[in-house]
C-alpha cells in the first residue's frame, strides 16, 4: 500500500483515478492545482505523484521543477498525465525528471501497470 498524490484539476478524472487506486489499497491525496500540489508534497511526502500537465496556478512542469530542485522531494517519482495533443511535452517532462508518462485519454490497466512499475523501482 502506497501514498499517492494525484494532482488533477478535472474533477471527474480525479474521482475515477481516486476510485481505482483506493480499490487497489493505496492511500490517495487529491489536489486540483499546482500550488496545492507543492504544498501537499512537502506535508505528506507521498510515495508517488501523478501529475497533470495542464493545471491552474502552476502547471505540471513548473511543479516538477520545484520538486526536483528541493532535496527533500527530488527523489519522489513522478508520472506525468498529458493530453494527446501535447505529446511533445512528454520529452520535456522526461528531461525534467519525470519517471514516466501517461497520455490522456488513458486506460486504467496501463496506468496501474506504470504506477506499479514505478513503485517497485522505488522500493
Amino acid at each position: 500500500m502506497a501514498t499517492i498524490l494525484v494532482a488533477e484539476d478535472e474533477p471527474h478524472i480525479f474521482r475515477m483515478i481516486d476510485f481505482k487506486l483506493r480499490s487497489l489499497g493505496h492511500r490517495v491525496i487529491g489536489v486540483a492545482d499546482g500550488r496545492e500540489a507543492v504544498k501537499a508534497v512537502s506535508v505528506d511526502r507521498p510515495n508517488l505523484i501523478l501529475l497533470d500537465v495542464m493545471m491552474p496556478m502552476m502547471d505540471g512542469f513548473e511543479v516538477l521543477r520545484v520538486l526536483k530542485a528541493d532535496e527533500a522531494t527530488k527523489d519522489i517519482p513522478v508520472i506525468m498525465l498529458t493530453a494527446k495533443s501535447q505529446e511533445r511535452d512528454i520529452v520535456t517532462g522526461l528531461e525534467s525528471g519525470a519517471a514516466d508518462y501517461v497520455v490522456k485519454p488513458f486506460s486504467f490497466p496501463e496506468l496501474i501497470a506504470r504506477v506499479n512499475t514505478v513503485l517497485e523501482e522505488k522500493l
Binding site: 471527474h12 475515477m16 494527446k84 485519454p105 486506460s107
Partner: protein
C-alpha cells in the same frame, strides 16, 4: 394625469413581474443543480464499477427517477471520452447494454433535425458498431449539419465505408460545404492520431492522391491538395511536382504550399522554378515554402525576388532568405543597403520583425 398614473403603474408592475421571474428562475436552477449533483454522486461509483464489469448495470437501469437516464447517459459519455483501450470498449458495451445506443439510432429517424444532429454526434462518442448502418443512412440526411455529424462519427469509429460519401461530397458544392468535408477526411487520417490504424491512414492518403489526379473540378482539386498537405503525405511528391505546373492558378498555389511540407530536393527544385511563375500568388507561395524548407540552393533565386513588382512576393522572399542561416542573413543585410527603396524597405521590415521576435509566416 390619470393616464400617466396608469402607465407608471403598469411599468412598475412589469418591473416587479420581471424581478419575480428572475428570482424564481434562479431558485429553480439552483434547486435543479443541487438535485442533479446529488444524483451524480449516487451514480458515479456505479459507473466506475463498469470499468471492470460493463454488464453490472442493475442499479443504472432499474428504479430510476425521471431525468435519471439523461444524467446517466451524460456521465457515461463523459467517462467514455476520458478513457482508452479496454476501458473505452467497456463503456461502449455498457452503453449498448443499457439501451442508449438503440435510443440514439431511433433518434436518427426523428422529424426534428436538431435531435438527429444530437443523435449522430452522440453515436460517435459511443463508438458502437451497431450505430454504423444508421449513421451511413444519416450521411444522406437533408440537413448538412446532420450529414457532417454522421460522417465525423463514422470517422471516429474508423469506418471506411463513409469515405465514398466524403469524396463525392467534396465535389458536390450544391449539397455540401467542401471545406468542412475536407476537415472530416483529415479527421480520418490525421498524422498525430494514435487510434487510427496505419493501414487506414495510408489508404485515405492514397485515395486523396488519386483524387488529385482524377478530378476535373478545380476547387475540389485544390481541396484535395490542401488535405494531402494536412495529412503530411510525402508520397504525394510526384503528383505535387506535376500539379505545380498545372494550368489552374489555384492548383499551382496549393501545390506550392504543399511542397513546403515535403523536405526533398525535388520540392525545392520545383519551387525555385515556380519563383518565375507569371502569377504573383504562386510566386509568393513558392517563396514562403522555400523558407520553410530552408534549402540554401534557393538563396540566389529568392534574392532576385526581392525586386519583384509584388509586395507580397518581395516580403515572402525576404522572410525565406532570412530563414537560410548566416548566408541568408548576409543577403538581407546587403539588401538593407540596396539602392532600390522597395528592396531596402522589405529587408528593413524583416530585420525589424526579427529584432522584435515576430515570425509572421510560421503557423
Amino acid at each position: 394625469m390619470i393616464f400617466i398614473v396608469y402607465v407608471v403603474g403598469a411599468l412598475l408592475a412589469l418591473v416587479y413581474l420581471v424581478i419575480v421571474y428572475l428570482l424564481v428562475q434562479r431558485a429553480i436552477r439552483y434547486r435543479w443543480s443541487w438535485y442533479v449533483n446529488g444524483r451524480i454522486q449516487k451514480f458515479e461509483p456505479l459507473l466506475f464499477n463498469l470499468l471492470d464489469t460493463p454488464t453490472a448495470l442493475g442499479p443504472l437501469t432499474h428504479g430510476l427517477r425521471p431525468f435519471d437516464r439523461a444524467i446517466i447517459e451524460r456521465l457515461l459519455l463523459k467517462q467514455a471520452n476520458e478513457l482508452a483501450g479496454e476501458d473505452r470498449d467497456n463503456m461502449t458495451q455498457a452503453l449498448e447494454e443499457a439501451g442508449y445506443v438503440d435510443e440514439m439510432v431511433g433518434k436518427l429517424r426523428s422529424r426534428r433535425w436538431w435531435r438527429r444532429l444530437e443523435a449522430a454526434s452522440k453515436l460517435g462518442v459511443m463508438k458502437s458498431r451497431k450505430g454504423i448502418p444508421a449513421l451511413l443512412k444519416a450521411c444522406e440526411d437533408p440537413v448538412e449539419g446532420v450529414r457532417l455529424a454522421a460522417a465525423v462519427s463514422l470517422a471516429e469509429m474508423h469506418d471506411t465505408s463513409v469515405l465514398g460519401y466524403l469524396f463525392e461530397a467534396m465535389e458536390d458544392a450544391s449539397h455540401w460545404t467542401p471545406e468542412r468535408v475536407a476537415d472530416v477526411v483529415w479527421t480520418f487520417a490525421m498524422p498525430q492520431s494514435r487510434d487510427v490504424p496505419e493501414e487506414i491512414k495510408a489508404s485515405v492518403r492514397a485515395e486523396v492522391r488519386s483524387q488529385i489526379v482524377r478530378t476535373t473540378d478545380s476547387k475540389a482539386r485544390q481541396l484535395y491538395i490542401r488535405t494531402a498537405r494536412r495529412l503530411e503525405d510525402v508520397e504525394a511528391l510526384d503528383i505535387l511536382c506535376e500539379m505545380i505546373g498545372h494550368s489552374d492558378v489555384g492548383t499551382r498555389v496549393q501545390a506550392a504550399s504543399a511542397l513546403g511540407g515535403i523536405p526533398d530536393p525535388r520540392s525545392a527544385d520545383k519551387l525555385i522554378a515556380a519563383l518565375g511563375d507569371q502569377e504573383r500568388v504562386v510566386r509568393a507561395e513558392a517563396a514562403r515554402s522555400l523558407g520553410i524548407l530552408q534549402d540554401p540552393r534557393a538563396i540566389e533565386s529568392l534574392a532576385q525576388c526581392l525586386r519583384d513588382p509584388s509586395r507580397e512576393v518581395r516580403y515572402n522572399a525576404a522572410w525565406a532568405v532570412n530563414c537560410m542561416g548566416p548566408a541568408g542573413e548576409d543577403v538581407i543585410l546587403a539588401a538593407a543597403q540596396d539602392g532600390d527603396s522597395l528592396v531596402r524597405n522589405t529587408a528593413a521590415q524583416i530585420l525589424a520583425e526579427k529584432r522584435l521576435g515576430v515570425d509572421s509566416q510560421r503557423v
